[in-house]
Amino acid sequence: MEIKHESLKRCVLFTVEGRIDSSTAPDLQQKINGIIDQGNFKVVVDLRGVDFISSAGLWVLVNAQKKCKRFNRGEVVLSGVSQRVRDALNLAGFIPYFNIYDDTAKAVGSF
């Protein structure tokens, strides 16, 4: 799994590639938490390159959302969600907790 992040004008954009399982999820959690703890509560996670996500990965996204939503207008939004990842989010009942955009530019523009 590869994780990149970029600080934009109104949010931080994470680009994740590969597979998020219980082996790699802690790395993603650490990186996202590091950015949130620096005071960035508006986060886009581009999942275009993610073809597998396990329950451990879903919890990373949900925990990040919980952290960000504690702050005024803080939010994690998702983009580039494949059907596979969307199915996992749906089965877990997590779809209502995320704004999901097909296009990363639109996700960034939502802030």
């Binding site: 399982d21 082996s23 329950s55 959302q65 907790y97």
Partner: protein, 137 residues
């Protein structure tokens, strides 16, 4: 098709199990959407064995994969202390995440991805978890 693989019970080996299943089912002509479901279910099951069964102590996991007449069977055997994941309460999907305890999600996904899950203790005293998924040939 019948194939098997034994891995050390480590999270790093979940990818090995997933790749093995994907490759074997692809070679057998199983649709990707079906094999992806089996991959996800086995990943969650193996993760539970590592976390709850072996409690991250050393051990091994044996996977037997059979694809026959439109039924895929994935059987996981381990020597961890006896642990029946089918008795784990599934996550309460309808509750907001704030009210959910961590965990339980793996069981929920596992159950959703396959048609049946059964657990038994083998004659050798090992855990054996069997996941089955049917598909149109």
């Amino acid at each position: 098709m019948q194939a098997g693989l034994t891995v050390q019970a480590a999270r790093e080996n979940l990818a090995v199990l997933r790749d093995f299943i994907s490759a074997r089912l692809r070679a057998d002509g199983v649709p990707t959407s079906i094999s992806d479901d089996v991959v996800q279910a086995v990943d969650e099951a193996a993760c539970n064995i590592i976390t709850h069964g072996y409690q991250s102590q050393p051990g091994s996991i044996r996977l037997e994969l059979v694809c026959d007449g439109g039924t895929i069977t994935a059987r996981l055997t381990d020597q961890a202390p006896l642990f029946d994941p089918t008795q784990l309460p599934p996550a309460k999907k309808d509750r907001p995440p704030e009210e959910r305890a961590a965990g339980g999600m793996g069981v929920l996904l596992m159950r959703a991805m396959v048609d049946s899950i059964s657990y038994r203790v083998t004659d050798d005293g090992n855990n054996e978890l069997t996941l089955q998924k049917r598909y149109q040939t």
